[in-house]
């Protein structure tokens, strides 16, 4: 795809206008998932298993149904049978079948005339359980004798003789590891662990569903991807895809956790049974117990390096559990673990393991932070022991255009080197450090995504432009779409209105995930604009009596393309639009594709922190994010992605973890005990945007949303290592753990 950046400077792209939905969001007017109601609406509530693993022997809802105000109860018996594959997995997770598979697994649901009556009714549903042994740790779940989550769930890839909880196996790599390690001056081996974290979106899942006996339905929900919701709900409920229309609300955070469904099919099933709309809103403890946290990981890494800093060989074994279903993103972990570096001899083994935990869901660069923690920690240790600078060593090994990636193909243009150089040049890298303070450096990568995209643009009767995209606006993307449309049409930013269309209005769109919205919806918006511009030029050509090929579009005006085309004054978009109805009808453009050509984003972070030797508490002093955006459409929102990803990573590195008790139940399902970063934990987060354009997008865009969470886990761990002199290999680095390490060092 030809890169438009080569030939023009931008008028709107790269500026920082106010976002179009800003007024709604600062006044409380914007409607999020729980802010919607329908006439006649009932309130739903879900009964959840108190056991980590149990057979469901019997469910008796008689007393619940007898409570005044209760209109319907559903269990798995109200859902169709015969699903297979991931459709079955989702249905089984949404409503338990024969077994409760984790603490919080949905086993029944109630719809009633008020929220309080629904909750009271749950207590009247009698469930007889036969409690089974459970397992929540990934390594224990692989061991002989571990309780079996489900027989026969392993796919073709799993070798014979492994525990049934191991459901996928991967083996990727190249070269001669023995020769590679033999060529090293220093070889290190270490094991690392990360625990599950939650995306921590402040808005719990919420929806209002209406489903009739005729199989036609409407659903309002907070989601990153309403076409995914449509596909999953219709599969789980046995409906035809286009008979369910899903409208996305504003969304209060997702980070990957809202790319799937938990409560939506339940609301629709209750609605069908009660013949009234049903609203369900998850509580925070339901969100933590029973939505989709990340996997936890147990990893073994071995790397070899020459005295002057060249990595000669690397191998890793990655064991990850994704809850009671296949899907731990260990395929991505293995793909990206060593991807920053040019390594000839490399090998990865991965295991996807089931445990009695909730079904994992994506969280910002899913699978990558775990591998980055292990590999970038080991690289730091190699540098430390060989007395080498961490940035110089990364530069020595960094991939660039043409390097053969550790996962096989050659890299197109990428910006790792540029981010390392910018980090090294930044004043933070030379800031003086005092006692108990340490500095950590790490780099990370996310390959980003294209995905199915449909967008359309239409010209209003006054020449203003409306853009319809299918990617919900999680972080300000309406502004970026409007900037790209403004640039393409040559009209002021304020004259563009961006709408997030419902599933009935556009063709399929993948969610706002994979750092794809600015790239893919943006590209589709630009291409749709080009189609509309072609039609605008044709109207001018018709008016002037010349060929359409003789008309060009510039800065919002149709113009003859040269002196031979004729002398006509430029015809503006408003004037053409005012005559649309009598010159051929409405003018619009649309574009559908699954674009490849997405470009990955590299980032390098530097963190300085201080460890209190009496409490083990780490305080972040300085934090720098340097990351490649390709082309920053709206720089303030690019910086926002850098900062947000970094802080989530800081939380995961220092405090956040899922704590399961001996009983297999989640011990910390509220924000008091699942401790995410607060304002007083942090300093300002410094950012530098590097731009190595992506040739696959007309304006050079690379997705930026996800890379930011991969370097912080190792950067923080490396800084703690520097501060306390002890290498910690298990996250999070909570004060008790750090204190124990300090005391243990003697």
């Amino acid at each position: 795809m030809a890169l438009d950046t080569d030939t023009k400077t931008f008028k709107y792209i790269g500026t920082r206008p106010d976002r179009p939905d800003g007024l709604d969001k600062v006044t409380g007017r914007a409607r999020f998932g729980a802010d919607f109601s329908m006439p006649g609406m009932l309130h739903g509530a879900i009964l959840r298993s108190p056991h980590a693993h149990a057979k469901i022997v019997k469910i008796d809802a008689t007393r619940a149904l007898a409570l005044a105000g209760v209109k319907a109860v559903v269990t798995r018996a109200d859902f169709p049978t015969g699903l297979t594959g991931e459709d079955w997995n989702i249905q089984e997770n949404v409503m338990a079948g024969e077994k409760a598979l984790y603490d919080g697994h949905a086993v029944a649901a109630v719809a009633a005339t008020s929220q309080l009556i629904a909750r009271d009714a749950l207590k009247l549903i009698e469930v007889t359980y036969e409690v089974l042994p459970h397992v929540t740790d990934v390594d224990k779940a692989m061991a002989e004798g571990a309780p079996v989550i489900r027989e026969g769930a392993a796919d073709y890839s799993v070798p014979e003789g492994l525990h049934p909880n191991i459901v996928r196996y991967m083996d990727t790599g190249r070269g001669d590891l023995d020769a590679g390690f033999a060529a090293a001056d220093l070889v290190l081996e270490e094991s690392y662990k990360t625990e599950a974290a939650h995306q921590g979106y402040i808005e719990p899942h919420a929806c209002v569903g209406q489903l009739g006996a005729d199989g036609k339905g409407e659903l309002w929900c907070c989601t990153q991807g309403h076409w995914f919701v449509r596909q999953m709900c219709t599969a789980v409920l046995g409906l035809e895809a286009t008979q369910l229309r899903v409208t996305p609300s504003e969304i209060g955070g997702g980070f990957g956790g809202k790319t799937t469904v938990f409560i939506d099919p339940v609301a629709l099933a209750l609605s069908r049974k009660a013949n009234r709309p049903v609203k369900i809103v998850m509580s925070r403890s339901e969100v933590l117990r029973a939505s989709g946290p990340t996997s936890s990981a147990s990893m073994d890494i071995k790397m070899g390096m020459t005295r002057d800093g060249k990595i000669t060989a690397a191998s890793g074994t990655f064991r990850m559990q994704g809850g009671a279903f296949p899907g731990a993103p260990v395929d991505v972990t293995t793909m990206l673990a060593f991807a920053n570096y040019d390594i000839e001899h490399v090998h990865h083994i991965g295991y996807d393991v089931m445990t009695n935990r909730p079904k994992q869901a994506a969280y910002r660069a899913p699978g990558a932070p775990m591998g980055a923690f292990a590999v970038e920690s080991m690289l730091d240790e190699l540098c430390r022991q060989l007395d080498l600078d961490p940035i110089d060593t990364r530069l020595k090994n960094a991939v660039k255009e043409g390097t053969r990636a550790t996962f096989g193909p050659k890299f197109p243009p990428v910006g790792l080197i540029e981010t390392l150089e910018a980090a090294r040049a930044h004043p933070n890298y030379g800031a003086p450090l005092g006692p108990n303070q340490g500095r950590g450096v790490a780099s990370g990568y996310w390959m980003n995504w294209g995905g199915e995209t449909s967008a359309s643009v239409a010209i209003g009767e006054d020449g203003t432009v409306q853009v319809s995209v299918g990617t919900p606006d999680i972080g300000g993307s309406r502004a970026s779409m409007a900037l790209m449309a403004a640039e393409a049409f040559g009209v002021p930013y304020e004259n563009v209105r961006v709408n997030i269309a419902d599933t009935g209005t556009l063709g399929i769109n993948e969610p706002t995930h994979g750092s794809r919205a600015t790239f893919a919806s943006g590209l589709a918006t630009v291409e749709a604009a080009k189609e509309a511009i072609g039609k605008l030029c044709k109207r001018a050509a018709d008016k002037w009596g010349i060929d359409a090929e003789a008309v060009t579009w510039e800065d919002g005006f149709a113009k003859p393309s040269g002196p031979n085309a004729g002398e006509f004054p430029p015809l503006g978009i408003a004037e053409i639009a005012s005559e649309m109805g009598s010159t051929g009808g409405p003018i619009s453009g649309h574009f559908e594709s699954s674009p490849d050509g997405f470009g990955g984003s590299f980032g390098t972070h530097i963190v300085d922190l201080e460890v209190d030797p009496e409490t083990g508490r780490s305080t972040i002093l300085r934090y720098l994010v340097v990351q490649d955006a390709g082309k920053a459409i709206h720089p303030a929102y690019v910086e926002g992605q850098f900062q947000g990803g970094a802080v989530q990573g800081i939380g995961w590195a220092l405090n956040e973890e899922y704590v399961y008790g001996e009983d297999g139940c989640l011990q910390n399902p509220i924000f008091l005990d699942y401790r995410v970063p607060v304002a007083s934990d942090l300093p300002m987060i410094d950012t530098v945007i590097v731009e190595v354009p992506n040739p696959g997008h007309p304006y050079g865009v690379r997705g930026v949303g996800e890379t930011g969470i991969t370097p912080p886990l190792p950067a923080v761990a490396n800084a703690v290592r520097a501060a306390i002199g002890v290498r910690m290999t298990q996250l999070p680095l909570t004060p008790p753990r750090v204190l124990a390490a300090i005391k243990g060092r003697g």
């Binding site: 073709y156 990727t172 990957g256 050659k410 197109p412």
Partner: protein, 81 residues
């Protein structure tokens, strides 16, 4: 003939080969040809693979054209997050 690189876990299903030559003008034709030549690859390919053609990642598109001298890698099917 196009050279298709297999990831290490697939090689055992293709007589131990790291690179397999097959006929095909599009990604879809190459995948079909791989399965025809090595039926053991069928479950992996049916489950879904992404493909890299001369460094460009093709997430999921059978109709992308592939030149005869292109360098093609099979990758684990990419999903987003």
């Amino acid at each position: 003939m196009v050279a298709v690189h297999l990831w290490s876990g697939l090689r055992a299903l293709a007589d131990g080969q790291e690179v397999v030559e097959v006929e095909g003008e599009t990604v879809g034709q190459l995948l079909d040809a791989l399965v025809a030549a090595y039926p053991g690859l069928e479950p992996a390919i049916r489950r879904g693979v992404s493909v890299s053609v001369d460094g460009q990642i093709i997430a999921n598109n059978r109709h992308v054209k592939v030149a005869p001298d292109a360098e093609v890698f099979l990758l684990q099917r990419l999903y987003a997050g």
